[in-house]
Amino acid sequence: MSNTDFVLAVEDLTVSFDGFKAIDSLNLYVDKNELRVIIGPNGAGKTTLLDLICGKTKASKGSIKFKNEELTRLPEYGIVRKGVGRKFQTPSIYENLSVFQNLEVSFPRGRGVFGALRFKCNAEVRERVQSVAEEIGLAEKLHTEAGLLSHGQKQWLEIGMLLMQDPELLMLDEPIAGMSVRERELTAELLQRICQNRSMIVIEHDMEFVKRIASKVTVMHQGKILAEGSMDKVQSDPKVIDVYLGH
């Protein structure tokens, strides 16, 4: 497999569950500083693709290279430490901890057992928590228990937890699901701000939202890439229309 300039190069990726190929010989390339949106009908394999990249699911075949480093053989925490962050579909935050603690725990230092025992929440950590909290609009809520936040705020908090790690590749799985109109707008603005200096992959269903944020869209269907390109080009593609509108 050749080396490339891409931040992420997925080649010939296949995963099968009991013979069912959820991802089938898929190729995907993401540029540096690119915000890529992946759309596709239910069961297209979008979430599975993210699972494969972040190591949650092991590939049956193929390669995933992040900055020319093979990820498929790394453990999950190793992939994260290389600079790949992943947000889950349902908000995954620590409900019993405060917003501050949620962010503090995500700070990428003291990640080993003894490192964590020695970890000190110094000025640098506090500043970082503060700036991330401002970014995600939760600066006023730092000492609120995370479980008490609204659904939208929980989604932002999880994005903030990823920002604490300053990943080079950030993957978001349906970040606006369940959000109000206003929250969607704020989230779109947030994503546009945070995609500076990093690559992002966003899975989304909401077409209005996709139009707002995406420059390039990938359409997946049955574990394969169906179409790729600008939103307008993809939307006028007859294959895409066929998949979305049924047979």
Binding site: R86, S92, I93, R111, M161
Partner: protein, 397 residues
């Protein structure tokens, strides 16, 4: 006082230092002054279970990993201590009637003619003390590393720990010549020539035990306060989020399992010293489950509460078995079921949710009604603290 110091002090108080002081006062001052030596020795024995209970608070309460095999580590610590004491009690002079003098009596009864090589390090007290911590921790490491790296958890892990408890107790009973079998190791007399059976020795061992327990609680509080403590709580809540934040989740569980094992082992060693023997009846499944009951009754999120749990359940056990020998097992079971059903967070949870607000209300009412002419009466909480409702570290979850 600088703001930093004030916040540190607040943090420690919030973390249960206040309730730890009360516990220290009770076990270091109140019990020795009010109990006769026989009862105090019993309390000392119960306190050794307190080590297991605080280990379970870390492992089960904080780490979310239930172990039904803590008796294994309690027993290993106890056996390491017993081996040292047994060797000292088996000098050639006192064992000269044996066919092989100089080896422990049970070995002689089982036709062993030579001390097994792995017994030899236990001639040395420093090596024994290292072994008390190292052997149980190593076993805990092997078990937990193998399990947690494979993502075995929850009920399956609990069952495996039970199996280990069963295996070890069967092994000890079966290997009579090496372990003393079902009788255990008995007739332990002296430690480096110091007779551990005298009254003064019993007092000293009690205080050593109680002191070590306080130190262990402080150690656990420090772990809870560290990022590792926060991570444990985070893992219990959303393990995947922690994993995908760049942490090797399994190693944190391995650490807390080893910590709980080491604490249990210290308890076991102190048990052997105070009670004067060690036997497989403290290793198997039943004692291991009893140990979980101590933590559950006391409150699995509260270190101090767990110690009260260990004391209370054992007092109850002694009391019931003295007054109603036929019924005590049923009464114990009823106590356990009742506590778990009515107060899932144990006595500490009960204190947090009921007693503490009640005290706060009383104090507030008193402050409001106090006039300069009526001197303040002694505050009511002190009586309720020592008996039924332990003060507790605030549950962090």
């Amino acid at each position: 006082m600088t703001p930093a110091m004030t916040s540190l002090k607040d943090g420690l108080l919030k973390g249960g230092l206040g309730s730890l002081l009360i516990l220290a006062l009770i076990i270091l001052v109140v019990f020795p002054l009010t109990l006769d030596l026989f009862r105090l020795n019993l309390v000392g024995k119960y306190l050794t279970y307190g080590f297991v209970a605080i280990g379970l608070v870390m492992l089960w309460g904080y780490g979310g990993v239930l172990s039904l095999g803590q008796g294994v580590f309690f027993g290993l610590g106890g056996y390491c201590m017993a081996m040292f004491l047994k060797l000292e009690a088996s000098d050639p002079e006192t064992t000269k009637i044996q066919s092989t003098p100089g080896i422990p009596d049970f070995m002689d009864w089982n036709q062993l003619t030579e001390l097994p090589f792995w017994w030899k390090p236990f001639y040395s007290l420093p090596l024994t003390m290292i072994a008390i911590i190292a052997i149980p921790s190593l076993l805990a490491f092997i078990i937990s590393f193998a399990m947690f790296k494979r993502r075995v958890g929850g009920v399956y892990f609990a069952i495996i720990t039970q199996a280990v408890a069963l295996v070890l107790s069967v092994l000890i009973i079966g290997q009579q010549g090496y372990t003393g079998g079902v009788n255990g190791m008995t007739d332990l007399k002296t430690m480096l020539g110091w007779d551990t059976r005298t009254d003064s020795a019993k007092y000293i061992l009690y205080f050593v035990s109680a002191g070590l327990l306080i130190v262990s609680i402080l150690l656990c509080m420090w772990v809870q306060k560290s990022k590792l403590g926060t991570l444990l709580l985070a893992m219990r809540d959303k393990e995947d989020r922690v994993r995908f934040s760049g942490y090797d989740v399994s190693m944190f569980k391995v650490f807390v399992f080893c910590l709980a094992a080491a604490l249990s082992a210290i308890g076991g060693a102190m048990f052997t010293l105070q009670v004067g023997f060690m036997s497989p009846s403290f290793v198997g499944i039943v004692p291991s489950i009893e140990m979980v009951i101590f933590a559950a009754v006391g409150g699995r999120m509260s270190l101090v509460g767990a110690v009260y749990g260990a004391l209370l359940v054992n007092f109850g056990k002694t009391y019931f078995s003295e007054t109603a020998p036929d019924l005590w097992l049923f009464l114990m079971a009823a106590l356990f079921i009742g506590v778990v059903l009515a107060f899932p967070n144990g006595l500490a949870g009960l204190y947090e949710s009921h007693i503490k607000p009640w005290i706060a209300r009383r104090v507030a009412a008193r402050k409001a009604s106090v006039t300069p002419r009526t001197p303040a009466a002694p505050t009511p909480p002190s009586t309720s603290l020592s008996s039924s409702a332990p003060p507790a570290a605030p549950a962090r979850a």
